[in-house]
Symmetry: C2
Subunit: 241 residues, 2 copies
């Protein structure tokens, strides 16, 4: 039987054997939500980079530069990490270089997997449909906040586990724990995450609209996939079944 597990922090990723596994990177507030939005709105490729320097260099080479640190857009770049800003029609067919506090490092640490895709509430059902049909094991890789486990990424991972029902065997105690937390939160997701640390952080920055958007289910049907250094839209030819 196929197995599913959840890695609750990129600091725990060394515990998992990624070869032969499809990894779903999760950074609900806001990297994977923003990247999904960008891909859905026609952005060509997104290249996640770790440092502001790399991002600046790519900007000089024709990329749109997107940089966020601690929830804020970094000065001198074209955009930050707000999903709403990626709905801009001017971004269609552009290439974006992006650096964020947590998402970028989680993507990097997922390398070595059979395939790395990006999940968020915005493409929840698309992710489920894809995972259901996969012939291999799945690892849900939560970005957290600076390595620390966070609520919103855990809840989304729990939602995926719950949505997949009994198709996968749980490979540790964590899938059942996350599913239980999601079950008790799902009727009012927003109020459930109101006590979370990152919620308060973003609210203080005036980003409530971002939060509301990131908690919407199934706005998009696209799945962003990492190929080499770039993220693009998962196409038929990329599908592993």
């Amino acid at each position: 039987m196929k197995k599913i597990d959840i890695c609750l922090s990129p600091d725990l990723i060394d515990q998992y054997d990624l070869s032969g596994t499809v990894v779903v990177v999760i950074d609900i507030l806001r990297a994977t939500s923003s990247i999904t939005t960008a891909i859905a709105h026609g952005v060509n490729i997104i290249r996640p980079v770790e440092t502001l320097g790399e991002c600046r260099e790519l900007k000089l080479n024709g990329f749109v530069g997107a940089a966020e640190r601690n929830g804020k857009k970094v000065g001198g770049f074209d955009m930050g990490n707000s999903p709403l800003s990626y709905m801009n029609p001017d971004l269609e067919d552009t290439n974006i270089a992006i650096t964020t506090t947590n998402g970028t490092i989680t993507l990097k640490k997922s390398k070595g997997a059979l395939q790395v895709i990006l999940g968020s509430f915005l493409n929840y059902s698309a992710i489920l449909t894809y995972l259901e049909r996969l012939p291999c094991d799945v690892l849900l890789h939560c970005a957290g906040w600076k390595g620390k486990i966070n609520l919103e990424d855990t809840l989304f991972a729990g939602a995926v586990v719950l949505g997949l029902k009994q198709m996968f065997e749980y490979d540790s105690d964590v899938p059942a724990m996350a599913a239980k937390l999601y079950k008790s939160a799902k009727d009012n997701l927003k109020s459930a995450i109101e006590d979370s640390s990152h919620y308060s952080r973003l609210m203080e920055l005036g980003l409530e609209e971002d939060i509301n958007f990131c908690l919407k289910f199934d706005e998009y049907k696209v799945i962003p996939v990492m190929k080499g250094d770039n993220i693009s839209k998962l196409k038929l030819a990329d599908m592993l079944f």
Copy 2:
């Protein structure tokens, strides 16, 4: 306000600043339950060691040798990791060297804290009473299984957070998550952990009696404390208030 946090795996301990913090090490099945039982039954000191070799050497130097690997007693040693075996009156005033799969490494990784104490359901109320009166921050350090987060240690950490009510400020999302999991499990703890990986492991080894005992609340009033290399009974002079 004093802060409380939960480190769900020893692999995450580097995220925390332990100086000025009291750490509660938690390995419900079974190291901290067994050590609490031993201390309550009059064992003088317990020295946790990492390797079987160290344990053997201490045995040659007058220690009782207790060794467990993957749930099983290791051949050639006096005892394993069953709490029931530590109720033996012959162990009174003895010194025990112990090596276990997960507990020992969690204790070692807690060094650098202001104080390291050991918690289990068996001394739940004693732990709460002590933590309530402390003037400093608290970190609940779960042993897990070979670094992986597990259910029973998370549930106990949640029980402690819930028991302390609003006396501590949560320093991450994890305390509220663990408290919520415990709340939904507390009416039938045994059935809640029946799906856990370690439960199945111990059941296969015929250790149901051990599990039942480890889930009992407040069998003992003692708190084991780590001083230097040894664990002994927390005395009035050790209390940090």
